[in-house]
Symmetry: C2
Subunit: 351 residues, 2 copies
């Protein structure tokens, strides 16, 4: 790509830009009143994901309000198990509820062949969003990583200690590998279909990368991610891949070195000096303001945003949070954050 | 201390030992049928903590079964807020429920003067346990660190995103500092009373150290811990202090360098090679087998235990888990783990 008009994509390609690209994880969501209105109309959460007009609307809402440099397809990492035929539901205030997988037969009953057809509405949404987005706003597609999706599939939802999925992985590694392999293929197919529909970069969310011991992290997180990156790149070499191994801590470096991602999402605990020094020469860095600072607002938010902006200045930096926007975040805080960052960019270019 | 007969205390003092000290976080607990029987008799959870005969009994149960090198006083980190006058309850299956602190008046209403008197039964339990324990088994006292205890006090219980406590800390740092300061003083007083009652080492549990951005971690975790260590040491220079900043990841090194602890608890994600290399010359290392491996059992457990044992061989190592024993762990797996480690010690000494 010789000329990239979008600063988000340019930064991912290693090109210098005059302004820092900005988007926020979970930028479309319950903190926006216009989202809550659509959500109410949609009924259940998966219905919203599977209705292209509504998914398009909620994807565009934060772009209209805040002018972010990238939109992210409104969807959920659990559409993959749903597409594979596992029963997935969302109960208000409780998070996802799945019919938990516990044995090989349950894994064998999942259907890879069903996936892309079942998720056709997601790809229609991506196509519609790309058509309706301003041309200088990038569209990001995404999937959960195999490990993180597997935690929900085996635990039957969220977990505090991951006892069931870890015990499964430790006790029956050969059977668990079948699940991870299926999820690897599913992730590739799901992301390829999104790319074919118009997304220009993809992010792999590995929200629970930080709960595994070192060997297991290598085996269930880093190796599958490396294989996914390799397969995507062989077909779509120009679509950048952002990996987000949340809470990977001491393993961020190995993740970057061994997966081949183009950019890494940093959770809120990662010091910018360390990241710029150790990772900045290899990949673009995305993050990592604490979402609670965005919720808190005021001078604390502006000071922390300045610090983040300065801290990552000597890297290919995409401004984002260290995790998703919190539900009770005042939308006005987001507007103030964006204004503040734009003014830092303006001063920075002038300097 | 010239001659220390207990391998746990010897290891903490930097002395070589012939066997690896072993104890497990939450070694007294629901996975043991004899614990469940006592728990039923005690009625509510705090009643168990505050009845010296019962707290003694459950502290000793795992020592009788498994012959660990150290017992840990049966108590809870939330006895401190309870002692300060905040309403604390435990609902079965739901975890702790506290009347959440939200403002300065609620903090001002807490009573430091009430603490040590209210917790007298805890210290009586410590004294009784020390009297009933085999002389070659060490007794560990403990407290939560100010940050971790504050998360429960402000959230009103466990949390997924720590939005309330973080927003409080970010928005009202001066008021939040009052709470942390009160908890610092309370932690020191609580640990000093335990030491006076006979505990021979103390552990600071900082279960939620891993959710803060770098500056906040320094301010609310590392600095208060350093002050607690300094105050304890000025009075009880011979009682070793173990810090456990769970999920501190990239900040483990700063925690060790800046707090002055004698030993550091490593969560399950920390690679032994890294810890031995970077931290092993400074402090004793405690950890870090994944509790899910102990629950899984079988060859996976034995292999991982061997790997942990070997990995930490060139350090002052206290064998432990990376987090507490999981509720559904078969007690027999614990017995097998201990046997296995003892046989590794025997082979190691023979070699």
């Amino acid at each position: 790509m010789a000329e990239i008009s979008n600063v988000f994509l340019a930064t991912l390609s290693g090109e210098p830009t005059e302004t820092t690209p900005i988007w926020l994880m979970r930028q479309a969501g319950r903190y926006l009143p216009e989202y809550r209105a659509v959500r109410k109309r949609a009924g259940d959460f998966l219905g919203l994901c599977y209705t292209p007009d509504l998914a398009t609307e909620v994807t565009l809402q934060p772009i209209r309000r805040f002018g972010f440099d990238a939109a992210i397809l409104f969807s959920d990492i659990l559409v993959v198990p749903d597409g594979l035929g596992q029963r997935v539901g969302f109960r208000t205030g409780e998070g996802p509820v799945l019919e938990a997988l516990r044995n090989e037969a349950a894994i064998d009953a999942l259907s890879f062949g069903r996936l892309v057809g079942h998720l056709a509405p997601v790809y229609r949404a991506a196509r519609q969003i790309r058509a309706e987005l301003p041309t200088d706003t990038a569209l990001i597609g995404f999937a959960g990583s195999p490990w993180t999706v597997a935690t929900y599939m085996v635990e039957g939802g969220s977990s505090k200690d991951f006892a069931k999925v870890k015990t499964f992985a430790f006790s029956e590694p050969v059977v668990f590998a079948k699940l991870i392999d299926l999820l690897e293929r599913s992730t590739v197919a799901h992301l390829e279909a999104q790319i074919a529909a118009g997304v220009q970069a993809v992010q792999l969310f590995d929200s629970w990368a930080g709960v595994l011991p070192p060997n297991a992290l290598r085996h269930w997180v880093i190796d599958p991610t490396a294989r996914i990156v390799e397969r995507l790149r062989s077909r779509y070499s120009d679509v950048p891949i952002i990996g987000f191994p949340r809470q990977a801590g001491l393993h961020y470096q190995a993740y970057v070195d061994q997966t081949g991602v183009d950019a890494v999402g940093l959770d809120t605990t990662v010091p910018s000096e360390w990241a710029v020094e150790e990772l900045g020469g290899k990949v673009a860095l995305q993050g990592n303001l604490d979402p609670a600072l965005l919720m808190a607002g005021g001078q604390a938010l502006l000071d922390a945003a300045t610090e983040t902006w300065l801290g990552f200045r000597d890297s290919q930096h995409i401004f984002n949070l260290g995790h998703g926007v919190l539900q009770h975040t005042p939308p006005d805080n987001v507007a103030k954050l964006v204004d503040h960052l734009r003014s830092l960019d303006a001063k920075g270019s002038a300097a």
